[in-house]
């Protein structure tokens, strides 16, 4: 029976929700183990959160100074060392997982599956390609480890109702020194909800026109308790940071409510919002492709409609 190892994504303190979504994916097929590997400088807090996820059978805590920051070249040999006990090795399809999992697969001498959106048994999976214009069903051979990333927008996070045992593992693998972490520069988002997990997201596009005007998007988002997103054109033009890009090459999200303001709806953008519950589009161009997927469309000038909407939402 399948034994699944999931690589935890975390920032040293908290487990990223992508990990709990990998657990949910693993729980859709028959398994005899779902274990989580926590590589960290000091993984105490993260291991405890991982152990609490429903369905998890064990947590392997790998503390090492080299694991202080997540580097694929450093983590991959350690994951490979653990992988021999498992039939599957999963990571989230976040930038962390996308960086790491192919390296793990190649070191194990196997291919990798990207963006699993559903499992039909332990060796048969569906994944999107061509910017989500097509869905592929593939079967992996049973005599080799299945290394894969899990499309986080396709799964709900497993709940924190369990209490799995935690064991410690000392690193044996030789760790390379050829890759060095320097720094992370992130915009904390002003205390707003996280784009990848928020129930509501308001995104702005090129139509917003400037970084100053993007304030309007933030105001509407704050009114709705929403996270802020952006189209590639808005990011390229400097209206918003790259971490806010939604789409094929940005974040794939599944909020209950997605409000797209001044975004045309290019296929690469739509790929990122296909799983949203309700899509609202505000655009002056009635022919904008976004209206083809929007549940509620409003043909209007955003500079009139958005302030009016903020007003109508009260406060």
């Amino acid at each position: 029976m399948a034994r699944v190892l999931i690589v935890a994504e975390h920032d040293g303190q908290s487990l990223n929700p992508g990990t709990a979504k990998c657990v949910s994916c693993a729980r859709t097929f028959e398994t005899s183990a779902i274990d989580i590997a926590v590589l960290a400088g000091d993984g105490g807090a993260v291991a405890a959160q991982a152990a609490a996820l429903a369905g998890v059978t064990g947590v392997i805590r790998v503390d090492h100074p080299a694991n202080e920051s997540a580097l694929a070249a450093v983590a991959a040999p350690q994951i490979c060392e653990l992988a021999s006990d498992y039939t599957h090795v999963f990571g989230p399809s976040t930038t962390f997982g996308k960086d790491l999992m192919p390296r793990v697969a190649a070191l194990l001498g196997v291919g990798q599956l990207s963006d699993i959106m559903s499992a039909e048994g332990a060796w048969r999976f569906k994944r999107p390609f061509y910017a989500g214009n097509a869905i592929l069903t593939v079967e992996a051979p049973q005599d080799r480890p299945v290394v894969a990333t899990v499309r986080t927008a396709s799964y709900q996070a497993a709940e924190s109702t369990g209490k799995a045992p935690i064991r410690e593992h000392a690193v044996d693998a030789a760790l390379p020194a050829h890759t060095r972490f320097i720094e992370t520069r992130s915009d904390s988002g002003g205390g707003r909800p996280d784009l990848q997990t928020a129930a509501c997201v308001v995104s702005g596009g090129r139509g917003v026109g400037s970084k100053e005007n993007f304030e309007l998007i933030y105001r509407l988002a704050d009114k709705l308790g929403a996270a802020v997103g952006a189209s590639r054109a808005a990011v390229d033009s400097g209206y918003a940071g790259n971490e806010l890009q939604v789409g094929q090459t940005g974040k794939i999200i599944a909020p209950q409510l997605y409000v797209a303001v001044g975004i045309s709806g290019a296929i690469q953008h739509l790929t990122g919002i296909k799983d949203a519950g309700v899509i609202v589009a505000i655009n002056t161009d009635a022919e904008a492709p976004l209206f083809e997927v929007a549940d509620i469309g409003l043909v209007a000038d955003l500079f009139a409609a958005v302030p009016e909407l903020i007003e109508a939402l009260g406060g």
Partner: protein, 252 residues
Amino acid sequence: MTAINTILVPLKRVVDANVRVRVKPDGSGMALDGVKMSINPFDEIALEEALRIRERGEAEEIVVATIGAQVCTQQLRGGLAMGADRAILVEVGRELEPLTVARTLLALVQREDSQLVIMGKQAIDGDNNQTGQMLAALWGRPQATFASHLRFNGGVATAMREVDAGLEVIEVDLPAVVTTDLRLNEPRYTKLPDILKAKKKPLETVTLDQLNVEPETQFQVLGIEPPAQRPRGVKVGNVDELVQALRQKELI
């Protein structure tokens, strides 16, 4: 002496990013007949970056390579027109899985004694986002993925990476693999004289056999289907109606 002798830039021939591709009605594949094909946009960015590195005097030579059928020479000529020095076609009649592609690229890296590979972070057809990382693993060298800024200082590259949290800066020793994100640069347009000049640049064809690479297929494709369609929505006339519709759905 520059730190980098040869930069290898793999180019993939893919459906143009502006084409809306669909699954064939019989589900046997994608309807690609007569569709415009281009260099994968991320690979074009990779080549542009390599050109800038060479123009700064930090590298000697740029080799572009494609793995695919004879028609892929179109994209290689495109790469030569942009400014690459030489091109290699690894002639293969069918689509290879990323692991075999990575093994093939490793063979090219060794054959060309390349110190730097710059490649797209993903191809917009397969959307796998794997090959650069796999190549780095097989090569036993660093990877700087999703790069949006790249600088060299002797044998060390500093890369800014686009990650979910924002931007991350890492340092890698050469030789190394870099994969590109969209904001690394804006590729130049090729001019007619460059296209003519490119016809005279060397383009070599090799086989997987010559590179000692055994192609391997691990995953069996069971089917291809179109994605689920979202039901068509409604248009509202004004902001009040929008608010009402949101209330009805209990979203506000």
